[in-house]
Symmetry: C2
Subunit: 145 residues, 2 copies
Amino acid sequence: MGIFSKTCEYAMRAVFFIAHRTAEGGKVGIKEIAEGIDSPEHFLAKILQDLSRRNIVKSAKGPNGGFYMDNISLKRRLSEVVEAVDGNGLFTGCGLGLHYCSETNPCPLHNEFKVIRNQIFNMLQNTTIEDFNEDLNLGITSLKK
Amino acid sequence: MGIFSKTCEYAMRAVFFIAHRTAEGGKVGIKEIAEGIDSPEHFLAKILQDLSRRNIVKSAKGPNGGFYMDNISLKRRLSEVVEAVDGNGLFTGCGLGLHYCSETNPCPLHNEFKVIRNQIFNMLQNTTIEDFNEDLNLGITSLKK
DNA sequence: ACAGATAAAGATAAAAAACTCTTAATTTTA
DNA sequence: TAAAATTAAGAGTTTTTTATCTTTATCTGT
């Protein structure tokens, strides 16, 4: 498995997709998102429900409803998405899973791991959802084969 | 959860512990290891069975038996332990979990993630099990509260 | 050769994560 | 106001991960 949970992978792909597809003020339905990012529809629905509750994406019911993002959502950092789904263990936890591990009582991997952990955090912290739109628009990056 | 599976965390802690405790040619039993790294004994037994089959640790049955490491084991890189347990997805996989993602068909996170992934790999690749012994010996690092 | 100590193996169980299905609530539009 | 479209919510199911328990095989010392 990767460094993020599957749920988190779907979440990230979904926010990228929604941001990309609703840049002009539209909305996009769950079916289309699931299809667009190749994820199980009902499972993704649960994830988006949660992201919606946490205000990371916006949603509207009824005809012409769907998911979209407002300016606040677009400016959210990727770290906020990850934290909402996987918690902050990735940013703060010990590489060996030791609870007590800290600067003053480090595990053997502590110093090496700290560097990695901080870089993961920085990467996610320094990028907002909308940052990824340009490359998606240009077709430089993609979310599906 | 962290970036490694729990199984992998136990595995790394165990090899550090074994290396540390058998530096003078002894052996150490499963009960003592489990206690020493605060892991469930029977579960750890399974993990060590596996690491033993893969020659990452050595084992001997019978009285005065237990786990230990020979020179080859001590020189193994941490990346070998991680790969044995969690596979190489951590070193090669896409951050968003997309199978097709590659240099020529990158996902939105590809370039940012690549850096992280390589650093994780380098960290694990550049350290051998025995590298961690000194600090454990000096009491600078620890595997249990 | 026997008793005891130990890891190996196998079978099972519990918990968590991933996934599915059904129903309810909300909104729009005719 | 009724029908249709859509997300929200709830209640499962399946799969994977983590953990436990029991039995077997192997080794050592006497």
